[in-house]
């Protein structure tokens, strides 16, 4: 295989008890009745293992909203995959956690919305923070890899120091601080979430200092807000290069946002073989090599590193998925990003009040 898949992100459900304003799930979500079965997922995991995929990430929505997550973990391990669970923690008690670990779960990523309960519950649109703290202490007592994930944005970056201290005390080995990426609900709420340049500069300094301080105890990964970057992110490390994402209905996608791109047909794994979809389906090949690239990407020396950036972001910001990612300072459409940043940075005070919409829960 020219492109060897490394990771499979399984969005096993879009149902979620949280309503986070920065959720990257699509605005049009799938209902429970459209979700594929335990057997379908098991077959997908077996095929992925045979193709040489190493990492399986069970996510959603809230994966624990499905009653068969333990079976899915077991199916993943049986297929020789390394199994990560990305969860809000809602729906996890000691018995269920033990069952997941017994089934072979390798790594838990537990999300927090803030270090402080009030804002955390506000961003999640529900009172989940106290419960999450109890889940963290349950995980800490067990021998399993534990990451704390915190999504950061304009309304919580002021407490970044507190969040890092919080993660240090949580018992996690790793902290992922991810700036919001603007897709789905997050794109809808972008004006309320994009940080200011001052906030970003301050946060980078805080993370660098913290990395020194917690060295050997806590690994800190920091995901930048690409709107402020000089060059685009190498989204998914290239379209159809290493990663695939399967949505609750079994549609196989190059990334979670790909359905926004018009004109692409995405096939369902229960109906088609995973290998065919990965290697031969037109959608996976649409932006895979460099033939789609416009200038300045086509002759850019960085094209093999960032692959022209994100196709979905190009579509969301320009209406053309085959345009250079507008966050790139060389992009013909870069001014749409610049104008957004000027607007955000000239607003002065961080806006108070809820000028955003909460993610809904599909039934």
């Amino acid at each position: 295989m020219k492109y060897q898949p490394q990771g499979l992100i399984a969005e096993v459900t879009h149902r979620c008890p949280l309503h986070c304003v920065y959720c990257s799930n699509p605005l049009e979500m799938q209902r429970r009745s459209e979700e594929i079965s335990t057997e379908d997922w098991s077959s997908i995991f077996r095929q992925a293992g045979e193709m040489g995929v190493l990492q399986l990430s069970l996510t959603g929505g809230e994966p624990l909203a499905r009653t068969d997550v333990t079976e899915l973990v077991h199916a993943g391990r049986s297929a020789n995959l390394y199994v990560n669970l990305i969860t809000s923690g809602v729906g996890l008690d000691a018995a269920r956690l033990n069952a997941l670990i017994d089934a072979g779960l390798d790594h838990i990523q537990l999300s927090f919305q803030d270090a402080e309960e009030g804002p955390a519950n506000e961003f999640a649109g529900t009172r989940a923070h106290a419960l999450k703290l109890r889940v963290a202490s349950m995980i800490r007592e067990r021998r399993i890899a534990f990451t704390v994930n915190i999504v950061v944005h304009r309304r919580n970056l002021a407490r970044l120091d507190e969040m890092i201290t919080f993660a240090e005390q949580s018992g996690a080995q790793r902290l992922e601080i991810a700036n919001v990426q603007y897709y789905g609900w997050a794109f809808r709420n972008r004006e309320a979430l994009l940080p200011t340049r001052e906030q970003l500069d301050r946060s980078i300094a805080i993370v660098e200092a913290a990395r020194e301080r917690v060295k050997g105890r806590l690994r800190i990964d920091f995901v930048h807000p690409d709107y402020y970057a000089k060059y685009p992110k190498p989204c998914m490390n290239g379209w159809g290069h290493q990663q695939m994402l399967i949505d609750p209905a079994g549609r196989v996608l190059p990334c979670h946002a790909a359905p926004v791109v018009p004109g692409l047909e995405f096939f369902r794994a229960p109906g088609h073989s995973l290998r065919w979809i990965w290697e031969d389906s037109p959608a996976f090949n649409r932006f895979r090599d460099e033939t789609w690239m416009p200038e300045p990407c086509r002759s850019c020396e960085r094209r093999g590193r960032d692959f022209g950036g994100c196709r979905c972001q190009a579509f969301l910001l320009t209406g053309d998925a085959a345009a250079t990612d507008p966050v790139c300072t060389f992009a013909p459409a870069h001014k749409v990003v610049e104008e957004t940043l000027v607007r955000i940075n000239s607003n002065g005070e961080v806006p108070k009040g809820q000028n955003w919409v909460y993610r809904i829960d599909p039934h």
């Binding site: 293992g49 190493l54 990492q55 390394y82 390798d106 790594h107 399993i144 890899a145 790793r174 050997g216």
Partner: protein, 93 residues
């Protein structure tokens, strides 16, 4: 690696395990990734079982590879374990 560490017992950190399936033989699977173990690294990591301390690991490797210089083996083992510890995939108990 400090002298103190020499007497302690290394083992893989939670969530880190050696690949066992076909094609995964030289991989150390870790949260969200995999490290490729080159040369004798897999054999060394296999011996980090939470039972053996460094001297026993070196002793075992010297027994398996009698033609190699024992001091060189020890140096290599210490260097590898140090790197893996810094990467967060190995812990000392």
């Amino acid at each position: 690696m400090s002298e103190a560490v020499k007497d302690r017992v290394p083992r893989l950190a939670p969530g880190c395990r050696l690949g066992s399936a076909e094609g995964q033989e030289d991989l150390l699977l870790i949260p969200e990734g995999a490290l490729r173990l080159k040369g004798p690294a897999r054999a060394i990591v296999e011996l980090c079982d939470g039972e053996r301390a460094l001297p026993q690991i070196v002793e075992e490797l010297t027994r398996r590879y009698p033609s190699d210089d024992g001091t060189r083996i020890e140096t290599e083992v210490i260097a590898l374990l140090g790197r893996l510890r810094d990467r967060g995939v190995l812990e000392f108990v």
